[in-house]
């Protein structure tokens, strides 16, 4: 019998600091997750307050095989992430993962990575692992983050809603302005951005992988809570897939944004 059952790991928080307004970076030593992780996967963080039952799914920003350090970058989105942002370095936290499918990587060629806001973190590990020409286009409301990290691996274009940094507009505006209609597209960001990008890649006849976000229960497929509408050949013309295990990365062609 195989006795290696996956379980929650209790580990010490190495650091947990703010890197932009409402955005935090947490580092942890978790050898098993670091070893297994693929770009685009996520981990479950469990809260110490047991009145908050459900794990918070946080995408993996970066893993370091040498030091076994896992880096998570997350936005304070609600009560749970607000509490997590207050956890001090040196305290314990429970974590499980990695979960989800992650991006499918291809060797060589041109890769176009598109991120919006807190969808930017998974692009760091992705950019690190891809080979060939890597172009990153990231959009923020105003304050930018992770741009320097991305510049280590890629040519980076920045857009902001208020024009305070880089291009004044959306990521799709940047793609058009620089005529970046080439390569394989990998994206992560808020739904309006992904929806606009879905149209753009269709017009541009490019293949895209979109990483989606949805309110999750368990994170491993049991509760069937975090579904996304996808195209199906059934009577209804659509079906629901689970973001946690069938995704979070989906082929742009199958996703129906409502």
């Amino acid at each position: 019998m195989c006795n290696h059952y996956k379980e929650k790991i209790t580990t010490k928080i190495l650091s947990n600091k703010t890197i932009a307004d409402n955005v935090y970076e947490m580092q942890l030593t978790v050898p098993s997750i670091v070893k297994e992780a693929r770009a685009g996967q996520f981990v479950n963080l469990y809260l110490k307050d047991e009145s908050k039952l459900l794990p918070r799914p946080i995408s993996i920003c970066e893993v370091d095989i040498q030091t076994n350090i896992l880096t998570l970058v997350y936005a304070v989105f609600g009560e749970g992430t607000r509490i997590i942002s207050g956890y001090m370095a040196g305290s314990d936290i429970q974590i499980m993962g990695p979960f989800g499918n992650g991006y499918e990587l291809t060797e060589g060629g041109t890769h176009l990575l598109v991120g919006g806001g807190v969808g930017t973190p998974p692009l760091v590990e992705l950019a690190k692992r891809l080979s060939g020409e890597i172009i990153v286009v990231v959009g923020f409301k105003s304050e930018t983050y992770l741009v320097e990290e991305l510049k280590k691996y890629a040519t980076v274009y920045v857009a902001t809603d208020d024009g305070s940094t880089g291009f004044h507009g959306t990521v799709v505006d940047v793609l058009d302005a620089h005529n970046l209609r080439t390569g394989k597209v990998y994206a992560c960001g808020p739904k309006p951005m992904l929806k606009a990008l879905q149209n753009w890649v269709e017009e541009s006849q490019l293949e895209a992988q979109l990483s989606l976000e949805e309110r999750m229960g368990c994170g491993f497929g049991a509760c069937v809570g975090c579904v996304v509408k996808v195209i199906s050949d059934n009577e209804a013309g659509y079906d629901y897939k689970k973001v946690c295990v069938d995704g979070p990365v989906f082929n742009s062609k199958e996703v129906i944004f409502s």
């Binding site: 996956k6 039952l53 229960g217 049991a222 509760c223 069937v224 809570g225 629901y240």
Partner: protein, 300 residues
């Protein structure tokens, strides 16, 4: 130490079951637990044909609990028999199939197809708050509950549990009506109907507006209802609602449940069934209890 329990002629190696809808058909859990150590896998509701379920968001966390409005998304009984039964049979556990339907005919179609399937028991779901027709509509009225129980019992080969809704004024009358209609056991409780509003967006958190509340927040309600029903019916009760630990399980047994099910805890901790089982064993060791039966219904 005797942990096994017998319900409607079926021997379960221990009293720890899974709560329907929190465990799918077990596949998602094989990397976390040995399914052969679970008394029974009560699978997610199975309908006569695939159901798409409700739109997202389907999940909302609440204090000590969660709301769900999944809406019984499932791939249908044919898929279940072809894929899930052989999968579960690889493990030494009992298979209890939760029947989902919108009409008596739909329930019977599922039960009928399962006649020739290698499953141990059925659980009639007349208490899901997330489907408009059927589902809970059958479960909130004693006459309707008795009618659907009688009809589905008549078309079932395997013993039939009936899963009761807590969203009723008099649980005892429904439990008695279902027993009189031929149920072999009761499963109680299903989720309590609840709602959560995002005050910043001024709209409900769930796309379906309302959903079923589960988790430790509902445990006192479950304990109370099992206690009340156990006093009045002779058939065994599977107790569930907010069980997170072995002691929670013991509470249900003492209230009158013959076995228990772990539901929402599976989502929070995928090896929760094993921790609950160990907790039961620890409790029995601590108090020198040699047979799990000796704990059932000890509260006067």
């Amino acid at each position: 130490m005797k942990l096994s329990v017998s319900i409607a002629g079926v021997e379960f190696k221990n009293p720890v079951f899974t709560g329907s809808g929190t465990f799918n058909s077990g596949r998602e859990f094989v990397e976390f637990v040995d399914l052969s150590k679970i008394g029974a896998v009560v699978v997610k509701g199975v309908a006569n044909k695939p159901w798409l379920g409700n739109p997202s968001p389907r999940i909302a966390e609440t204090y000590g609990g969660m709301l769900n409005s999944v809406g019984l998304q499932n791939l249908g009984v044919d898929h279940f028999i072809k894929e899930d039964v052989p999968f579960l049979r690889r493990y030494d556990t009992k298979i209890v199939v939760n029947l989902a339907g919108k009409t008596i005919e739909e329930y019977c179609e599922v039960a009928d197809k399962l006649r020739y399937a290698d499953v141990d028991m059925l659980e009639l779901n007349i208490s899901c708050p997330n489907v408009k027709e059927g589902g809970v509509a059958f479960g909130v009225n004693a006459e309707m509950a008795a009618l659907v129980t009688r009809e589905v019992k008549a078309c079932s080969k395997q013993p039939l549990l009936v899963k009761l809704s807590p969203n009723v004024t008099d649980i005892v009358s429904i439990a008695k009506a279902v027993e009189a209609a031929g149920a072999d056991g009761l499963t109680m409780i299903n989720t309590l109907i609840g709602m959560k509003i995002d005050v910043h967006k001024r709209k409900p958190v769930l796309a379906n507006k309302m959903g079923g509340l589960s988790g430790p927040a509902i445990k006192p309600v479950g304990i109370r209802m099992v206690y009340q029903a156990a006093k009045e019916v002779g058939i065994p009760i599977i107790g569930l609602g907010g069980i997170m630990t072995g002691e929670d399980a013991i509470e249900y047994l003492m209230a009158g449940a013959s076995a228990i099910a772990v539901g929402t805890a599976n989502l929070v901790n995928p090896s929760a069934t094993m921790e609950v089982l160990q907790g039961i064993i620890d409790y029995m060791n601590l108090y020198g209890v040699t047979d799990i039966k000796d704990l059932v219904g000890v509260i006067a």
